[in-house]
Symmetry: C2
Subunit: 404 residues, 2 copies
């Protein structure tokens, strides 16, 4: 057993992720109802005008603007009511001078009419309406194409779909949209001491915490967990898992340099082990590489290290594959430190902090095994590789775990 | 046809929502794998210690600290290796003075041992290990309960579940957790001119934009859309929809004071119409009330008004029922206005803005029918009821549509 011969820097590992070859085809068609949060893979060009016809923007009367010239409360002008138009219904024939048609908001303007007289500005009986105000042409008309025009790009490739985007896409008649496929991800949990997640710990065995945590993280970052299981700590089982037909493999546990840490050796033998050992704390025993078309991340079994390593590396890779922004999906807040944080030059530190009274208080923790340190914390601070830490009252960027 | 006799203020409507009677029972058990983003309905108390036993925190040798007293590289002390402990496996028997047991990180400490000698600080053959350093008691041991203790509240009621929370809940052996039930929501789309969402508009009919937009908004705010359909613009169909067995009914369209606007009248006759007409723009023809145990929101059919009304009122009610924070799920940013925004005293305005060069530029729009104004916008600014608007360069709070 030996230590890491050389630890890569966090920046080196991140550069590798940002330069990974992306698959050629990675889009799929998704129905409107499942589109929220997905990322468009292509520009969306409208094939239709919205609205597709001139329409009334007020309840009132479709008229010829000319017929209203000179009208006022002192000089009401009568028009003959020749019909009624509801939304969705056309008006047969053409409006003649001296005529008006009762019209509802959203209904199509009849041929010949070029303004809408709001109902509040009229008096009427069943046959006649008195115009009390003159109108310019096009008044209270929504013109065809005023919302969206044929040929217009309504949403560009790379757009993360918002609820109102779905409304707009629906209004141009699209039922399915091309979005980036969610990277197929396999989560491999090793550790013979582990019981399946949600099992009450018994004897000297503990319940798997990393599996369900990683699954939630992968979903957050746009991935699709196609397989997640505990596997035996054997080279055969680990290699088979790393050769699964997926885009990304996350291996939790056995990522260090011990004799039973098979995953790094297997990745080096059967694929490419790009990095093994990163100058950071926690998560130093992290690794990554490729096997065939798969990107493989080796995550430490200690839960805090696993979370931290995922967030620095695997999550970024997933977001890149999913077309999402590369930056952490954590809100940032600039706060003063309540107590000092000590680090070492030459490594990146991930320090959990609690936020109270607009201050960030580092959580005292020993080691990377206490996952509860990340649930007691409100967020974390990154201490860069060239820093020895920060004295109290330093202003730091806090990444908040809760993004709402 | 008449206008609203009196418009309620936005604040009155929000107070009504914040004081709605909540259902007595509104929790359900949800499995770990579906817990992300859900809200705990109860405090979660651990029934177990995590870890449940003292364990090694390093790869090395379990020893009696006493046996290492005086050891150094100049005075290496030999211990007899009497076995090996892997994670999840107990050690039979008790460690005697002069003995050491090979131990892996995470493995349970054998009886009699009280420190772990890191493998890097030793030399060994198959039978003996040479101790080169003295150790205090408990060195490199993770004590039982150091992460979580029996009886400890690990996560409190009201917590929105994060990925690492799922890990912690798994580690204490829980497979299902009590969370707030997602409010069952029915979305009712009225408008005889409408075609189903995603249908290409034809003739004088337009595709429903509000239905799929509202569905995505409801899901975002923790609701569960149990039914969403276009219904005929008849009092019978609208009343039946408002009497569905759900928690929240959203009715889009027919919410104003026209003769074909049945929903407000029906709500007044068969339930309680708490508000109808709100002093705001857009969305003035909004209403809300109750019918039996259901909360009913009447949303304008114009898409921008529908979005705005949903966000001000229905979304807040859903978040309250779902146990989520009441505040808008939009990130806020303080920016200067590039151009003025004009409003009127006496109403709240919802102004869409584009963000560029760290400035918020109001989007020129006429009316509330152009949904694309909300997809071209990056967010919105609220102009309160007592303001006539803002001159250029005013610092305003922008709510960003994209929360990532």
């Amino acid at each position: 057993m030996k230590g890491f011969s050389r630890r890569a820097t966090v920046d080196e590992a991140i550069s590798w992720i940002d330069q990974m070859t992306l698959p050629d085809v990675r889009e799929e068609l998704v129905a409107l109802d499942h589109l929220a949060g997905r990322v468009l893979a292509r520009d969306i060009i409208s094939q239709v005008n919205v609205p597709g016809f001139d329409r009334a923007m007020m309840d009132g009367y479709a008229v010829r603007a000319n017929d209203t010239a000179g009208a006022s409360t002192y000089n009401p002008l009568p028009l003959e009511i020749v019909g009624e138009i509801l939304p969705g219904q056309p008006f047969d024939g053409e409006l003649q001078p001296g005529q008006a048609v009762r019209i509802m908001t959203g209904a199509p303007m009849p041929t010949g009419a070029d303004a809408v007289l709001p109902v509040e500005k009229t008096e009427s009986d069943n046959h006649r309406v008195l115009v009390m105000d003159s109108l310019p042409e096009q008044k209270h008309i929504g013109a065809s194409g005023e919302d969206i025009r044929v040929g217009e790009c309504v949403l560009a490739a790379g757009r993360r779909i918002r609820p109102q985007d779905i409304g707009v896409l629906s209004s141009i008649g699209l039922a399915q949209l091309p979005v980036f496929a969610r990277p197929r991800t396999r989560i491999v949990i090793t550790g013979n001491e582990l019981l399946p997640s949600g099992t009450r710990p018994a004897g000297y065995r503990i319940a798997d915490a990393n599996g369900p945590m990683l699954a939630a993280l992968v979903e957050r970052d746009g991935g699709n967990v196609v397989n997640r299981e505990l596997i035996p700590d054997t080279p055969e089982a680990i290699l088979a898992a790393m050769q699964d037909d997926v885009d990304v493999v996350l291996v939790s546990g056995g990522s260090s340099v011990g004799i039973e840490d098979y995953a790094p050796q297997l990745l080096a033998q059967h694929g490419e082990l790009a990095f093994h050992g990163i100058a950071m704390r926690p998560s130093s025993p992290s690794g990554m590489g490729t096997m065939g078309n798969r990107t493989v991340f080796l995550l430490p079994g200690n839960p805090v290290s696993c979370l931290c390593s995922y967030d620095f590396f695997a999550g970024r890779a997933l977001r890149r594959l999913a077309g999402l922004p590369l930056a952490w999906p954590y809100r940032q807040q600039r706060l003063r430190l309540k107590r000092k944080i000590v680090s070492q030059v030459g490594r990146v530190d991930y320090a959990r902090v609690r936020v109270a009274d607009s201050q960030a208080e580092p959580i005292a923790v020993a080691g990377a095994s206490r996952l509860s340190s990340t649930t007691r914390a409100d967020g974390f601070v990154i201490i860069p590789t060239d820093s020895e830490g920060y004295p109290p009252q330093t202003e730091v960027d806090v990444y908040l775990y809760d993004n709402t």
